[in-house]
């Protein structure tokens, strides 16, 4: 399968007065053409920073220290600012968490759409632009009238769908959706995510969905990556990750999900995620890990393939006996 996006050894550090914060450290993954990739992580894990790095929107004191971000083979980090501006929206578009707030409140939707086209040198007449927009709005299940209204006249779910429509306007090969539904309730969430999925299939674009809702990931993604404290700790096909997580953190995430099927004991995870400024040595997860070994405290585990197409960064997989105990407990 061809990769549309390759992220190699990405490091994004924030240089704060109180020291350097490694928000994203040594992260490598790729996204295939036309794929739905889920990036899972709790707040502060670095998942949104990765999205901003791909868009090259990291602001000071943050800085992309090293690494490569290749979109369709082209290293985005080597482009000039103007070249990068051209890639945004046309090559990679983003739908943000508060996308409803990213719409300009004093411009009609169609004016905002025309803005996007104009800034990329598309010369279209007003009528042509309107026609294109109406087509995009129809794809996200909105009526043509939505083109002529101001954002406040739309509900939260509708605004989020408008943002998806605008993100599609130049047919990007990659759409990044950063928690696009976290401000919406479940019924609207389903509509928005199903819209995103349908659009992704029609355009054959790749989508990176960023979030912390495991349910949403299971419903949307075909492959997922799990972030913890700035590190990618596991990556693999969604079924494999949900059935047989190979990293203890992923496993704990799965177990702490409350069930809708039976009332049960809630699994309490000890400790809390480390602050990005004060990360433990060795494996970042070792202070909370139920399988911690001496080695984990000193040595950082390598990110490697532990099952077909499933990658994890955990020392347990170097020790066959220990790895066995992990998988056995999961099976139970």
């Amino acid at each position: 399968m061809t990769s549309i996006l390759e992220v190699n050894d990405l490091r994004v550090y924030f240089h704060t007065p109180r020291g350097m914060v490694k928000a994203v450290d040594n992260v490598t993954f790729d996204v295939h053409a036309g794929e739905r990739f889920g990036l899972i992580g709790e707040s502060g894990s670095g998942k949104s920073t990765i999205a901003l790095a791909i868009m090259r929107l990291i602001r000071s004191p943050g800085r992309i220290e090293s690494g490569e971000i290749r979109l369709e083979g082209e290293n985005l980090l080597a482009l000039s600012d103007e070249e990068m501006r051209q890639r945004r929206l046309a090559g990679v578009a983003m739908v943000t968490q508060g996308a409803m707030n990213s719409l300009n409140p004093v411009m009609r939707i169609r004016q905002q759409f025309a803005d996007g086209l104009n800034s990329h040198g598309e010369t279209v007449t007003v009528d042509e632009a309107r026609e294109q927009l109406v087509d995009l709005l129809a794809r996200v299940g909105l009526k043509p009238e939505a083109a002529d209204v101001y954002p406040h006249q739309l509900s939260g779910g509708m605004k989020q769908r408008v943002c998806i429509a605008l993100a599609m306007s130049l047919r990007p090969s990659l759409i990044i959706a950063d928690e696009p539904t976290s401000a919406l309730d479940v019924v609207v969430q389903r509509q928005v995510v199903q819209t995103l999925r349908q659009v992704q299939e029609e355009l054959d674009a790749a989508v990176i969905l960023i979030g912390h809702d495991m349910g949403l990931m299971a419903q949307f993604a075909s492959r997922v990556g799990v972030m913890y404290a700035g590190k990618l700790v596991e990556e693999g096909p969604v079924r494999a990750i949900f059935r047989q997580p190979e990293h203890p953190y992923t496993r704990i995430l799965m177990e702490s999900l409350p069930s809708l099927d039976e009332k049960e004991t809630l699994q309490v995870v000890k400790g809390a995620p480390p602050s990005a400024a004060d990360r433990p040595a060795g494996c970042v997860f070792h202070p909370r890990c139920p399988f911690v070994m001496d080695r984990c405290i000193q040595e950082e585990p390598l990110f490697r393939e532990v099952a077909p197409e499933q990658w994890a960064a955990c020392h347990l997989h170097d020790e066959p006996a220990a790895a066995h105990s992990l998988s056995r407990e999961v099976a139970e």
């Binding site: 709790e42 707040s43 939260g156 309730d185 479940v186 019924v187 609207v188 969430q189 389903r190 509509q191 995510v193 199903q194 912390h212 809702d213 495991m214 349910g215 949403l216 990931m217 299971a218 419903q219 969604v238 079924r239 949900f242 704990i252 995430l253 799965m254 702490s256 999900l257 409350p258 069930s259 809708l260 009332k263 049960e264 004991t265 809630l266 699994q267 309490v268 995870v269 809390a272 995620p273």
Partner: protein, 348 residues
């Protein structure tokens, strides 16, 4: 017996626009009683705008009802004497959504816990006060050495929210109203807060009103549940019954919209509204008719009553009009009567 807290047929209307002429009914004809006899966790769920937070604010006396009254031990919240108000402020506690906003970030966590002890004169000495704090922290599963002496930003969201629960617990309340207490907390830490809330019921005999949009956590910790839709009760009853076998089409939509964390159980498509739904009049008839896949003639004429579909549950839907009706102000009796017949499942 006088209820601890009673909402007697309350309606809250917010006005907006020129001269406040555009009226929004946030909560309508709502009646509910909380007794002190048996501690229960009652969930209130609904989408944004369903009136669930308005209900919390009304019960806490932070808003006044447009119609009806909220009574604390028989006395209208609007006319409490000073003594009554002090008692109310002590017996009924609140935990809000954002554990950051409730803190003053310039003070250490200790200040947050010492203030109620001082204000309500809960301890005779400093040592006693400290012991009270230690007990409260222990009850919510926090270790004093990792909370006391710290500033709020040094704690995780889960820890901060548990400090809020500990603070409420210090006052030895009878009821805690918790409005979305876990929605801003990371997945791996949510269980810590939910477990703390369960402990309040099981070990301290405190009742809880748990307001959320998350049906899954409600299912895990609640005994009973009230589903609100646009300010009106859609369904009410035993949480297991409501979640496993919802009777109101709105509850059915809610349950089917929850993304299951299982790649092999894919979301179903949202059901199409019925042919009649388009003709539904928002000012008349069932509030859900315009979105309802089952809407039929009666739905367009008047808001349905509560129909008691079984001993432990009722739904405001004409699909169940053959069942006996239940007056809106008897909703609590359904929960009360029912809670007597079976022991609650104490799951821990």
């Amino acid at each position: 017996m006088t209820a601890l807290l009673e909402a007697d047929d309350i309606t809250k209307i917010f006005g907006s626009g020129v001269g406040r002429r555009i009226e929004t009914v946030a909560l309508r004809d709502f009646s509910f009683r909380i007794e002190t006899t048996r501690p229960l966790i009652t969930g209130v769920v609904g989408e944004s705008g369903s009136g669930k937070s308005t209900m919390a604010r009304l019960l806490l006396g932070l808003e006044e009802p447009t119609k009806g009254a909220v009574r604390y031990r028989g006395a209208d919240l609007r006319h409490l004497s000073n003594t009554q108000r002090a008692a109310f402020r002590r017996e009924v506690q609140a935990v809000f959504q954002d554990p950051f906003e409730s803190f003053n970030s310039f003070y250490k966590v200790d200040h947050m816990l010492e203030t109620p002890i001082r204000k309500f004169k809960l301890a005779a000495s400093k040592g006693e006060a400290h012991q009270l704090i230690l007990n409260a922290l222990g009850a919510v599963g926090l270790r004093p050495e990792e909370t006391l002496g710290r500033f709020p930003h040094q704690l995780s969201g889960g820890q901060r929210q548990r400090v809020m629960v500990a603070r409420a617990l210090l006052l030895n309340p009878k009821l805690i109203v918790a409005d979305e207490p876990v929605s801003m907390i990371d997945a791996s830490l949510r269980a810590t807060v939910l477990t703390a809330l369960r402990t309040l019921r099981d070990e301290f005999g405190i009742s809880l009103i748990y307001i959320t949009h998350d049906l899954t956590t409600a299912f895990q910790i609640c005994d009973d549940i009230i589903v609100l839709y646009r300010g009106y009760v859609a369904e009410v009853g035993d949480v297991t019954k409501v979640v496993k076998d919802p009777k109101h089409p709105y509850t059915q939509l809610l349950v089917s919209s929850i993304p299951r964390p299982d790649p092999d159980r894919q979301w179903s498509e949202e059901p199409e509204p019925s042919a009649l739904a388009g003709t539904a009049n928002p000012d008349k008839g069932c509030l859900f008719a315009a979105r309802c896949p089952h809407a039929f003639e009666p739905c367009l004429r008047a808001i349905p009553q509560l129909y008691r579909t079984d001993a432990r549950r009722a739904a405001t839907c004409y699909l169940h009009q053959d069942a006996p009706t239940l007056a809106l102000d008897q909703m609590d009796e359904l929960l009360m009567a029912a809670s007597g017949e079976t022991e609650p499942q104490v799951t821990r």
